[in-house]
């Protein structure tokens, strides 16, 4: 009797989660996978095959864009780590207890505005007739207007800004659990600041660090607005290719193929990253 009610409540508790996974994650993925295997042979006629995948490999633009997206995403992840680690360390270890919540909140505030608005914020700042260009002219640093938009550096700055928070949060929660006594012990045993950082702080923070890297990498590789709006004529981001295939070329088969490839490729990068750092999903993003 008791075990029956237990079962029932377990089923009821799991139902929303199971429905979510099946209806919103698994089914669409299978759908996309199926569409990617359809070959178009004529108007309205399809057969199953791998033509879309061979077409992807045969066109350098596509895999170059995928590699470029992956490489820039890795760079963004690294920069987010460099920017985010000191911030996280300050919040978790140096700031006074009372200031912590406030600092954390300050980090969260940019998230209250949508991605789109934040990207336009950068446009207003960086465009040729924008705030940065005109203030530099006013100060006499440069003689004519300067265009700071529409290049890869701007895209990277914009992306780092968008994702850095997702690096800070897991780092703070990991570093928060670190006992200060460990650091003191390190110094007492004659370790320099660098040694303590390398041998104690980094290994301790590793799970949070890897979790942050995975989240920021996935977010960056899948982002759409920031690279399109800030990159201008030279941006080619893989998500844009997917959009183009679906919307402007009516080629759902190729679009679905690109979607599958993006998922497979980013998963591969994450897997390699986990292997290199000796971590696993269970010790990082799925940590209790």
């Amino acid at each position: 009797m008791r075990s029956d009610t237990g079962k029932l409540s377990l089923i009821l508790l799991m139902a929303p989660f199971a429905l979510w996974i099946v209806l919103l994650i698994a089914l669409p993925q299978f759908g996309i996978g199926y569409v990617s295997l359809r070959e178009k042979v004529g108007p309205g006629e399809y057969e199953l095959g791998f033509a879309n995948y061979t077409a992807f490999l045969g066109e350098p633009i596509y895999w170059n864009t995928l590699l470029r997206t992956a490489w820039m995403s890795i760079l963004v992840t690294f920069l987010a780590l460099v920017v985010g680690f000191p911030v996280a360390y300050y919040i978790a270890k140096i700031a006074r207890k009372r200031a912590r919540a406030g600092l954390f909140l300050l980090c969260l505030i940019p998230l209250w505005v949508s991605d789109l608005v934040r990207a336009f914020g950068w446009i207003v700042l960086l465009r040729e007739t924008g705030i940065v260009s005109s203030s530099l002219q006013w100060m006499g640093v440069i003689s004519g207007p300067v265009e700071l938009l529409y290049n890869d550096i701007t895209v990277i700055i914009g992306l780092v800004y968008t994702v850095v928070l997702f690096m800070i949060v897991p780092l703070v929660s990991t570093l928060d659990g670190m006992d200060d006594a460990m650091l003191e012990a390190g110094y007492n045993l004659g370790g320099s600041r660098f040694t303590v950082f390398r041998r104690i702080i980094v290994p301790y923070a590793m799970p949070g660090l890897v979790a942050g890297c995975i989240i920021t990498f996935m977010l960056t590789a899948g982002s759409y607005l920031t690279p399109i709006l800030l990159g201008g004529k030279n941006s080619s981001w893989f998500t844009e290719q997917i959009y183009n295939q679906f919307i402007t070329r009516y080629n759902w088969e190729a679009g679905a193929t690109f979607g599958v490839l993006l998922l497979a490729f980013t998963s591969l990068v994450v897997w390699v990253g986990l292997r290199l750092t000796g971590q696993s999903l269970a010790t990082t993003v799925a940590k209790e």
Partner: protein
């Protein structure tokens, strides 16, 4: 992206407001500014049992959305005249029009016949014209007075100060500018690919000259009004709007002919309010309503005296831009045969990806 998102938000807001009364609903999918609030209110006053819900979109999204639902979800769509034939053949997303329900007598004869010729499949007509306009060049006379055609977009004299929209229009315009006629090559895929390769090469060289690709009217307006861009590909209606704010900004029909499009009315296959759709078509084509519509869109209604029904400032802009010879030289978009868009899509991706 920016413009379409904004429009989406605007459309959602409108539909929320409109959805409060229970009555027959006309779900209209159209271009930004093609459903001015004033006209919707007037229409709902005249037909109190119909509520109009508007979604703003563009040619590609209209087809993609209707394809996704097999033609349902909307009761009236407004694709351009050249985007109906192949979309209908391939995806079967529209239903034939009942011309007896439409007052075609108010429409300008040549545009009506042109659209009918473009959209007749198996003897059934799928669209009638609504408004027309052109794509060409916009220039800031005070800085770039000698602009005459598509080639000026790639003129190194304006390095860093030109812009274009990376869509099929610029491929066609550039081809005309290079002395070719893409519409004549539509039936010969090999020759068309050859032409596309030349155009691609030219536009890749051109990337060092242009500042950025614009993506919507708002985007383009900001670039032109700030003076960051002085020569750009444009829709004429956008240029007319900017003319009102800065009379130095004028529309220049390219010497090879401005590319003319006609936006139409077509009824999606799954449309559930055909009556209301026909009422809307007849309603907006009435002269007094044409004026309100044209004031909002800046495009010219497909009625015999369409230019006269433009508001004064826009009529002045049209007259400043077009001589009679330019009007005779218009190049109307020809029906796109299946497969051509795919070739163009690849060309556009090559250009975008080139560094």
């Amino acid at each position: 992206m920016k413009a379409s998102l904004k429009l989406l938000l605007a459309g959602t807001a409108l539909s929320l407001v409109a959805g409060t009364v229970s009555a027959e609903t006309l779900r209209l999918m159209t271009w930004g500014s093609y459903a001015p609030e004033e006209l919707i209110n007037k229409f709902e006053e005249e037909y109190p049992d119909i509520v109009v819900e508007v979604t703003f979109s563009n040619n590609e999204e209209m087809i993609a959305k209707l394809r996704a639902t097999g033609g349902s979800g909307y009761d009236l769509a407004q694709p351009s005249h050249d985007r109906i034939f192949s979309a209908q053949q391939e995806y079967n997303i529209y239903k034939p029009l009942d011309l007896s329900q439409i007052d075609t007598s108010v429409m300008s004869e040549n545009l009506l016949e042109g659209v009918k010729a473009n959209t007749t499949i198996d003897g059934e007509v799928y669209a009638v014209p609504h408004q027309w306009g052109t794509s060409g060049i916009m220039t800031n006379k005070s800085v770039a007075p000698d602009v005459t055609g598509w080639n000026d977009l790639c003129d190194p004299a304006y390095e860093g100060k030109t812009s274009m929209r990376l869509r099929r229009t610029i491929l066609l315009g550039t081809a005309f500018g290079m002395g070719m006629d893409p519409f004549a090559l539509y039936d010969d895929p090999e020759a068309y690919q050859d032409m596309l390769d030349q155009v691609t090469e030219k536009l890749i060289d051109c990337k060092s000259v242009i500042k950025t690709y614009w993506t919507g009217g708002d985007d383009l307006a900001a670039l032109m009004l700030s003076g960051e861009v002085v020569v750009s590909e444009t829709w004429d209606s956008t240029a007319y709007k900017l003319f009102g704010e800065n009379p130095d900004i004028v529309f220049v029909p390219p010497e090879t002919g401005a590319l003319a499009w006609i936006d139409t009315f077509a009824i999606p296959r799954g449309g559930e309010a055909d009556d209301a759709a026909y009422k809307w078509i007849n309603f907006v084509m009435r002269p007094e309503n044409v004026e309100i519509m044209s004031a909002s869109t800046g495009a010219i209604a497909a009625v015999p005296n369409g230019i006269d029904l433009l508001p004064e400032d826009k009529r002045a802009a049209v007259q400043a831009a077009f001589e009679d010879t330019d009007l005779e030289n218009l190049k109307f978009f020809a029906n796109i045969p299946a497969g051509i868009e795919d070739m163009e899509g690849l060309a556009l991706e090559r250009i975008q990806a080139a560094q």
